[in-house]
């Protein structure tokens, strides 16, 4: 039986949730506001900022100075590429651990997660040297590989959780009907796990898009994605807040729009299996 909730309680909950949501979103909103101000107005007190004139000059300046589309296409290739490559490795791995668990499956899962506990900077120099020797510094393929490796534990863990929710009997039935392993994974398992896989893909694209440590350290001019684009507008000697804000808005807009349109998928996937 559902618990009854009074209207005033509902109103209070909504108000608290809306306030929290606004507080979390406020920094992004403020960046958007600053991006439409002149440099002089951007450093004024908050109320004066809001009442001062609006301008596109920062966007024009950023467009003139930097090649946005080069950075944008690098970000797309790196984030989508690393997610797809990760998926290619993670689906069989998660399948094996979910449906044919061994004695050490739990340990393997923990070990994979433990690789995320090492601070990235700890392996920066070895990876830099390996990339140098392989000639893949400042290359998109190099970044796809490194971001795949970084996000792989999360992809495997997420898929493993979703796969565990799928009854093994369905796969067994497919096997009894003569489905090969490939057909079983492709035509039986994958369609059932689509919501989970969609949220895994979306979350990993967002993670890869926002990754700033490796993308800044392993790139120079050719493969630099939008994180490097933002970094080029930050300066300890000179107030370029409006331009920095404009660059940030341009960098986060694509992923924000993607997140907005796919939020249903994302939430559905993340809560998949929460209620049985």
């Amino acid at each position: 039986m559902a618990r009854s909730v009074s209207n005033s309680r509902k109103a209070l909950n909504t108000a608290v949730a809306a306030t929290l949501g606004f507080l979390i979103f406020f920094p992004i909103l403020w960046i958007v506001v600053l991006s439409f101000k002149s440099e002089g107005d951007a450093i004024r007190a908050p109320l004066e900022v809001l009442t001062s004139g609006w301008t596109f000059e920062s966007y024009t300046a950023v467009q003139e100075r930097s090649d946005y589309f080069k950075h944008f296409s690098n970000s797309v290739i790196i984030s989508v590429g690393s997610t797809l490559l990760g998926l290619l490795i993670a689906i069989p791995a998660a399948w094996a651990m979910a449906f044919v668990p061994g004695k050490r499956t739990k340990d393997v899962l923990m070990w994979m997660l433990s690789t995320k506990m090492l601070p990235s900077v700890g392996v920066l120099v070895p990876i830099y040297l390996i990339f140098r020797d392989l000639g893949i510094l400042d290359s998109r393929i190099g970044l796809v590989v490194v971001l795949t490796l970084i996000n792989l534990p999360i992809i495997i863990w997420m898929l493993y959780t979703y796969f565990r929710e799928i009854p093994g009997e369905i796969l067994e039935a497919a096997r009894m009907d003569g489905a090969s392993l490939r057909s079983e994974v492709l035509y039986v398992l994958t369609p059932m796990a689509v919501p989970g896989m969609a949220s895994t893909v979306l979350l990993n694209i967002i993670l890869a898009w926002n990754e700033a440590f490796w993308t800044l350290n392993l790139t120079a001019a050719k493969a630099a994605p939008l994180t490097a684009f933002i970094a080029s507008y930050s300066s300890p000697e000179g107030l370029f807040y409006a331009k920095l804000s404009a660059a940030s808005v341009m960098a986060i807009a694509p992923i924000l729009i993607m997140g907005w349109f796919s939020q249903k998928q994302l939430v559905r996937g993340l809560t998949f299996g929460a209620v049985k």
Partner: protein, 437 residues
């Protein structure tokens, strides 16, 4: 048909050969996001027009990110950059490691003798020039003429610390958010420690004695730190322990600071009427002293250097020569006006009658000339550098010491505790690095 095929093959081969003949050498330049550098990037089309066989790729990064990025690349011989923008701190250290290409063979037309001696000295190791200065800066006092007049005081060209304190207190009106002085408080070797190290020099303090023994337990350091803390508590803005260059610039431009002692490069910002509400009221003076023969100003030059082992050394040298030449200065003056010319590198610029009309030109030159990186302190020291000590350990150590001084400014610890901790940190680091036993 055969004739057609032959024709196609010959044309394709011809195209390949001609492409190879004009194939451009790519020079990748790593630089910081400062106004002068951004201008250089915009004007570099002129260079590529003059040198069609050279292509330029730009990597513009925030100063601290850039420093980490280029250090990592040069130390591992990653070969990602052909020209690097580095400061006076890196040049002597990297040159001693053999990481930089000597620029002693620049042509006579470059006129290396025209470089300001203080700047050139900071970029030269064992007689070899290892980086070409793009712009040089020192620090100086920027003050509000109207507030100074209201306080009934007159700023001398070369003030003492006592006068600065008197003026700061007289100009302070905390109720109306008017603060007599704004100084750096944010922790970092290039933040509060740049200011405090230079200030300490004028109080007779030094980082190390001639045997590399840390000196934070001396009376001179206690005097310098106590003076700074008292001054900031009496006449500084609230929350100063998190203020760096940008925060103070914003305060000054909004008219909230009576005085600001910081980089000379700030002069062009605070006098720009588009951004500054006090643009027509700013005066300049040399950094203060205590009558001990050393002023509290620093010396820094953002310079262009070429990493050893680059594939494009000749093309990189051509670019460095172009960007730091007299002709570049004239081009900037012609296109953007004399106030936007990169300052502080060449004597000829300061002999130019047009440049002399820029309000902060003379004070910038005098400030640069007042700094001596090879002899920065009252008592002798084994290191070079005015606001830094040119040893690899300095970055980490000074940032840790800066955190202590910043905590003291925030009132979390006393000046005595901060100095004690600084002494311990320095002794431990210098022992670990083998300078002392």
């Amino acid at each position: 048909m055969r004739l057609l095929n032959t024709l196609i093959v010959t044309t394709a081969l011809g195209a390949l050969v001609s492409t190879a003949a004009v194939a451009a050498t790519t020079v990748t330049i790593a630089t910081v996001n400062n106004g002068d550098m951004v201008r250089m990037q915009a004007l570099s089309e002129e260079f590529t027009k003059q040198n069609p066989d050279i292509e330029l790729d730009w990597v513009v990064l925030e100063e601290n990110v850039l420093r980490q990025r280029v250090t990592q690349d040069i130390a591992t011989k990653g070969g990602q950059f052909d020209v690097m923008t580095i400061g006076t701190y890196e040049v002597p250290i990297w040159a001693k490691q053999g990481w930089l290409v000597s620029l002693n063979d620049l042509p006579e037309s470059y006129d290396v003798d025209d470089l300001l001696p203080a700047i050139r000295g900071g970029l030269t190791v064992d007689g070899e020039l290892y980086a070409a200065p793009f712009y040089g800066e020192s620090s100086m006092v920027m003050y509000r003429k109207d507030l100074m007049e209201k306080a009934g005081l007159e700023m001398p060209d070369a003030p003492s610390w006592d006068f600065i304190r008197e003026a700061a207190v007289a100009m302070t009106d905390k109720e109306n958010e008017q603060y007599g002085i704004c100084l750096r408080g944010k922790a970092g070797w290039g933040e509060n420690m740049a200011f405090l190290t230079a200030t300490a020099n004028s109080f007779g303090a030094r980082w190390f004695d001639e045997d590399w023994k840390p000196q934070f337990d001396t009376e001179q350091w206690a005097n310098a730190l106590n003076f700074y803390l008292d001054l900031m508590n009496e006449a500084g803005p609230p929350g100063a322990s998190s203020n760096g260059f940008n925060e103070n610039l914003a305060l000054f431009q909004q008219g909230k600071c009576g005085m600001w002692i910081d980089a000379t490069v700030a002069a062009s910002f605070v006098t720009n009427p588009d951004d500054s509400t006090v643009a027509d009221q700013v005066g300049f003076a040399l950094a203060p002293d205590n009558g001990l023969g050393k002023r509290g100003n620093w010396l820094w030059a953002w310079s262009l250097a070429i990493p050893a082992g680059t594939d494009s050394e000749d093309a990189a040298k051509k670019f460095v020569e172009w960007a730091t030449s007299k002709a570049y200065t004239e081009m900037v003056a012609e296109k953007e006006g004399w106030a936007n010319v990169p300052p502080g590198t060449r004597t000829s610029l300061y002999e130019n009658a047009e440049y002399a009309k820029v309000p902060f030109a003379k004070m910038t030159l005098d400030s640069i000339n007042a700094a001596d990186p090879t002899n920065p302190t009252v008592d002798p020291v084994p290191y070079t550098g005015v606001q830094f000590v040119a040893i690899p350990e300095f970055q980490g150590l000074a940032t840790a010491v800066g955190q202590q001084f910043s905590s003291a400014l925030a009132g979390q610890i006393t000046a005595e505790e901060a100095l004690d901790r600084a002494q311990n940190l320095a002794e431990r680091e210098m022992t670990r690095a083998g300078y002392i036993k």
